[in-house]
Amino acid sequence: MRLRKDSARPSDSVPVRATLVAALFAGSCWLSPATAGDLAFVTSQNGNMVSIIDLSDNEIITQTALQDAPAPVAYDPQARRAYVIAADTGRLSVIDEAGRITATRDLGEGAFGIATAPNGELFVTDWFEAGLTRLGRDLKTLWRTDTGNAPAGVAVSAAGDLVATADRDDDAVSIFDATTGRLLRKIATAGAHPFAITFHDDRLWTADVQGDTVSVIDPIAGKLIGQVPTGSHPYGVAFAGGRGFVTNQYAGTLTVFDPKTLAVQAEIDIGEYPEGIAALPDDSGVVVANWDSDTVEVVDAQSLTVRARIDVPAGPRAFGAFTGRQVPH
């Protein structure tokens, strides 16, 4: 009998494609335009690892060991770094594009959802203490404000003026002035337990885990303006190629919908327990982390087929905006 509990805790950074990595480090041109690419930072919660994937060839460039269940992540190509939260401790780690941990800060055990603002500052929810904190690029606190109960995901508008939290246990979304932290709106979601939240096309979209719905919210009018039925236990929402995609954890599927009409176009099979989802930087598809299959899959937004499958350490979650295009310097 074989029992797997996925509790391995590798203690060091594990280079993959060692020859290539060595070659890159041999020169000092790792971040030169010639090597700039599309990257994904995938957190493996059970495997305690962050994998940086080159989305042009779907290979893992390097991996960084990170203790205590890394799950939420936000990649900021402008700052050439990703932010990762360890769910067990609430420690925030800054990881550069070569997989080096360059800074950490302990934010308290409840620190969870994370998102970056256009100016490089960041927002972190506090699940236990029902709060939202804005941090500078130096990780110092700029302000803290109260949210609804159990805030999970957080999202920043394209202009950087609004920030919204999915308050899971209140079945609601809170919208704040991103500059001051003042609460502007609180809007009930279509279904219970909104978890992930994202801005797209000036609307807010939440995956309502217990409601099997995606809520569509107009943040300015402060109204729920529509909903999309999903498969069982939706987790994340992303947009690519003019379509919306939802990971359905229990169903093991992606719901595909039209963001304009909100009509469901397809429900396609994906790996087991799909969770984190983000668009490819070229908008041609989405990247999905399958928590139970220990894989990352790239799904083509037009053909709706799986373009690539990448094995990653146990329990990939990648909760947040984990993809982006490197900025040449």
């Binding site: 797997r4 055990e109 409840g110 928590w291 979650r317």
Partner: protein, 185 residues
Amino acid sequence: MKRKLLAVIVGTALALAGAAQAHGPSRQKVEMTQVLDATPDEVWQAIGKFDDMSWHPAVASTEMTPEGAAADISDESTRILHLKAESGDPTITEQLIGWSPEKRMYKYMITDVAVEVLPVTNYSSTLQVKDKDGNAEVVWKAGFYRGFPNNDPPAELNDEAAIAAVTGVYQAGMDALAERFGKAE
């Protein structure tokens, strides 16, 4: 409430669980496999009915709710497992969330259970019989959170207790199947 068999299972689990850790909840995973000396179809015949968990030694009876409801409708079919106990009527209510007899597989989630019975929350599971060189390979796996949703869980409701309890239940089921069909070497 005293539950003889489950008490033994969970008791063993707690002994293995160790000290409480103060940290936030994260989802846990348990997966167990067992290759049996029987064909996949034979074993699926025994364990592949959502309305019959009599193959598991901790289950006294399986009740469909509402009574007589179909047992093969995803997101609808719901069963109540009545567990063996010296007194009281500990139960676990589970809903079918995926039905794939062609893969000899079904998925289900717990919709109601007391943490004193099984110290988990947000539990979903997959039971499958695969074909391994003609023999049945039973794969039983689950994703779940611990019983205590906030920080500083008591020892009996922490991550380790949840993992150990699920492991205990799966082990008891696998042991019963190994006894019934024999292990394949």
